[in-house]
Amino acid sequence: MEFKDNEAIYLQIAGYVSEQILRQPWGPDEKIPSVRDLASELQVNPNTVMRTYEFLQNQGVVYNKRGIGFFVSPDAEARVKQFRRERFLQQELPGFFNTISLLGVGFDELQQRYQQFQAGQAALIPATTDEKQ
């Protein structure tokens, strides 16, 4: 795993675990990899992964069964979205505002493009479900 410079590794690993939960390889009430296995897979110190799991536990994304391991909380998806939303609003949005004010991009243009984006998304979703059938 390639780590970025501007964020603590344990939070980047939390992002990775959340991604796995949102994309559903790790479903509700399923056991997630042990600290040792994930540390080995990502080539990081096990204490860092432990810190990630403690952080996710505090966020209610995973829960700990003593002596067995960590499991995905039933409402993990909502919890992940909640803390990622916080992170986006606090960390990424200021940079975005900085760029649009620097380049003079107005809200009207943003809104128009956002609507186009949403229309594009809406057109995509039925197409992909058709493919599955």
Binding site: F3, K4, D5, N6, E7, A8, I9, Y10, L11, R36, D37, A39, S40, E41, L42, Q43, V44, N45, P46, N47, T48, R51, F55
Partner: protein
């Protein structure tokens, strides 16, 4: 696990290598020992494993002086030196000769590590390349399951896939009752694997810090030419000046070990002074 107090050591009386060096290492951690060439990384490790004796001060492992080389200490300690001795033995013969000294040695683990590191079992050691020999010894060192594992430049001679596998294997082998100490000057090889960084410089340990705590107290980044006010350390680079600053904003980034090392092992004591002068805060505001 390891307790060094006021260690004085030098290969000659007139040229001291360590003066009043103190250091404590605990179980459950992977320590990265950094230092310039000749700073004494390997010599410090030799003091810890009982291959060099303090001129003054103490160096204890599990409460026993390392220099006494007691069996109870040696059977729970493995030292992998930078230069290996490769006897004319195959893996199985080497185990038959050597594993008996390590009560917790696991043959199953040894074979698994050899397979992970892609080292053949049937070939006699001197017929293997240097990198293969090194991986063989790393596999043995980990399988010995000693409480203290001391690795001197273990990634020297390893190719890129082997370095990746080395980090995976080592990360999977740490447990709460093991203490690992790894010396290196290839800082990038150990990035994110170690949790505590030790820097030996000017005859003492100038830095002994948890990486998480360092990230709370310092920031690492690039700055424009006019923007180095408040920086503890700055060095030029292609991307602009690389600077180390006090972390005043509560942001929480990743420690740039190379930059940190340059900041600490140079003549400028600002970073060390800053870290010593301000007490560590606890959890960062996430």
């Amino acid at each position: 696990m390891v307790r060094i107090r006021n260690l004085h050591f030098g290969y000659s009386r007139r040229v001291p290598l360590f003066e009043n060096l103190s250091l404590t290492l605990e179980r459950g951690h992977i320590y990265g020992l950094l230092g310039k060439n000749g700073a004494g990384k390997s010599t410090l490790l030799k003091n810890i494993v009982g291959l060099a004796f303090p001129q003054a001060g103490t160096c204890e492992v599990n409460g026993h002086p390392a220099a006494a080389r007691l069996p109870v200490v040696l059977e729970d300690l493995f030292f992998l030196p930078e230069e290996l001795h490769a006897p004319a033995l195959t893996a199985d013969q080497f185990v038959a000769h050597t594993a008996g000294f390590y009560p917790k040695f696991s043959e199953v683990q040894f074979h698994r590590y050899l397979a992970e590191l892609e080292v053949p079992r049937q070939t006699k050691l001197p017929k293997l390349s240097f990198g293969q020999q090194k991986k063989f010894m790393i596999a043995f060192a980990l399988a010995a399951n000693t409480g203290l594992l001391v690795l001197d430049e273990p990634t020297n001679g390893l190719d890129i896939p082997s370095k990746v596998q080395f980090r995976k294997t080592l990360a999977g082998a740490l447990s709460e009752d093991r203490c690992m100490i790894i010396s290196t000057h290839q800082v990038r090889d150990l990035d994110s694997l170690i949790d505590t960084v030790l820097v030996v410089h000017n005859r003492e340990i100038v830095l002994n810090a948890d990486l998480d705590q360092l990230a709370e107290r310092l920031t690492f980044g690039t700055a424009g030419p006019a923007d180095t006010a408040g920086a503890l350390y700055a060095e030029p680079s292609v991307r602009g000046r690389q600077v180390v600053r006090p972390n005043l904003g509560g942001s929480y980034g990743k420690v740039d070990l190379e930059l940190l090392f340059n900041a600490v092992a140079g003549d400028n004591p600002a970073v060390v002074n800053y870290l010593n002068a301000t007490p560590a805060r606890h959890e960062p505001a996430v």
